[in-house]
Symmetry: C2
Subunit: 332 residues, 2 copies
DNA sequence: CTGTTAGCGCCTTCAC
DNA sequence: GTGAAGGCGCTAACAG
């Protein structure tokens, strides 16, 4: 294993000089020496030992990212945006997937802290369980005390910089748009009651309907994935329009409806939330609320890395945009 | 920042003892001391400094993963499998995305080498450019010389342990299955001519047709993504069956056909390759060749981590399974 | 501009 | 079973 010292010796310069040319210091090095060092490094096949560098510098240039599930296109898109932004700033990204286990979220923060990553990004819905949230906050707090930066994509419940999609408002806008098409009897495939994202979207939707003087929607709980939509939609009684709180669930609902011979949008309209790119080729095309997922990931990187340590955490709201496509139909 | 030394002092033991308790050594430590150390660590909020540990041990427990694009469900699935396997072995995963730039692939290997990751996983098609491949091989070679482990998901062209999907054979099987339905005039949306995966699938398909005495398929090149399928299918002349060399391209093709009012499978049959889970709810359901993507990722982790340094690289073949769904139709 | 020299935090022989 | 001490590879003052 070739070390900096080997390179220095091979080039006939001091360790410090070799360090300065190979691992960007602010100091200048004379052209002649610089070239000798670079030549020696190339000849020897030198590779910086980042662990040693991190130890000496007291800071690494790795960013940690915690997501629920990379196979879920929602998180894949956020991760992609975050990784592009990280890359642009010269950072590598270390990823942990929790598969929706809040305990693992906490454990990952601890692990990433141990890795002394420069920043930790937490993406995904918070849970309504205050005790779990508090423990995550505490873990993040310990990390921040030692200089760690944190940003979250989701609800502003952690006391850290947050990219917060307007779930309530987006769902409310969607409700109004659907009502404007003449729908009055709605059902909501609401996902699990302990996921804040699901709850926000469900209540935003329901409140908007109430404001319009429309009847309460039928609420069907279930899991937050395709299967949840698939199962839940089968309990819908007589709605003319079904709102699934995310696109993946809507896809499950569409599949179940198709199997039962229910036509969309002729027999029932369906809408989702997120506007997942991979799902844009479904038939009928899914109406939804578009969230700029990749931007949100990139934004989180910026928030985490910018600002000074003492600053109060920034909360960046993100608006969803209603996209009406073929899966919904005008009733009157 | 709390260090091991702080913990040792707080517990009234030596640094060595604290180290043995907190960071699993093979040595035993008396029960009383162990408990004192653990208590002190908890009280102080100690977190191992992995950088220091890596430096001292000369080995990290991070695995590097290089993929083309996390938003592409193909890679998301492989990454998911790899991360689960890594996790089960106590490793974190550092991810780099190349967005199909072979130069970045090489650069990432270098970066991961600098990070002294325990193993590097490279997922994704090789390119036909031998010069680029040689440089990647060289970079991997340098890494391996210093004890790094490597595994690849794709073609066995790097001289490292490889999980190699049977692209040729899968495509050939598919061709035979489609021919058995009575199709004789085929078109292949072939992707780019420099991607080995695309080439293998195209040639496997064409060769099987030739063996059956059927006419040569029309070959249309393009990009390896949705847009590539969308564009390429518009140049298809008079085939009764279109084979897109991956599912995402097939989705693009379906979209273009739908827009032009061409019915699938009534007017033309369409098949893809990979069997991407997220795409299983398309209508018509896509016929394809199923690859166990998550398993492949997990397998790569195993291959990389197992075996001894001198061993010749293992090549693990992976078979695809034909899945015929509604997007193809029997002609006779 | 270049070299010398303490550490950075932890692991691991080696004695006790 | 426990402690003392050298060293892992690099950085960043500090001198020159």
């Amino acid at each position: 294993m070739v070390t900096l010292e080997d390179v220095a010796r091979h080039a006939g310069v001091s360790l410090a000089t070799a360090s300065r040319v190979l691992n960007g210091s602010s100091r200048q090095v004379g052209r002649a020496m610089r070239e000798r060092v670079e030549k020696a490094a190339a000849e020897l096949g030198y590779r910086t030992n980042v662990a040693a560098q991190t130890l000496a510098r007291g800071a690494s240039d790795v960013i940690g990212l915690v997501v629920h599930d990379l196979v879920d296109p929602y998180f894949a898109a956020i991760a992609d945006g975050a990784m592009r932004a990280a890359d642009a700033r010269g950072h590598m990204v270390m990823v942990g997937t929790t598969h929706r286990d809040p305990e693992r979220e906490i454990a990952y923060v601890s692990t990433l802290h141990a890795q002394r990553v420069r920043a930790v990004l937490i993406a995904g819905s918070r849970v309504t369980d205050a005790a779990v949230t508090d423990r995550l906050r505490a873990e993040l707090g310990r990390y921040q005390e030692t200089g760690g930066r944190v940003a979250c994509v989701g609800q502003d419940l952690l006391g850290v910089a947050t990219v917060a999609p307007a779930n309530r408002e987006g769902a409310a806008d969607l409700a109004r748009a659907l009502a404007a098409l003449g729908h009055t009897r709605f059902a909501v495939l609401a996902g699990p009651p302990h996921l804040v994202t699901a709850v926000d979207r469900r209540t935003g939707f329901a409140e908007a309907l109430a404001d319009l003087g429309l009847p309460e929607p039928q609420i069907v709980y279930g899991s937050f994935d395709r299967g949840g939509g698939y199962t839940a939609v089968q309990e819908v009684a007589d709605a003319t329009c079904v709102f699934a709180v995310n696109d993946v669930m809507a896809v499950g609902a569409l599949a179940a409806l198709r199997e039962r011979g229910v036509r969309v949008p002729d027999d029932v309209s369906v809408a989702g939330f997120d506007d997942i790119a991979t799902l844009r080729d479904l038939t009928p095309a899914l109406s939804t609320v578009r969230l700029p997922l990749a931007d949100m990931g990139a934004r989180a990187v910026e928030l985490a890395l910018s600002g000074d340590h003492g600053d109060p955490p920034v909360v960046a709201g993100v608006e969803g945009r209603i996209v009406l496509r073929d899966s919904v139909r005008r009733l009157r």
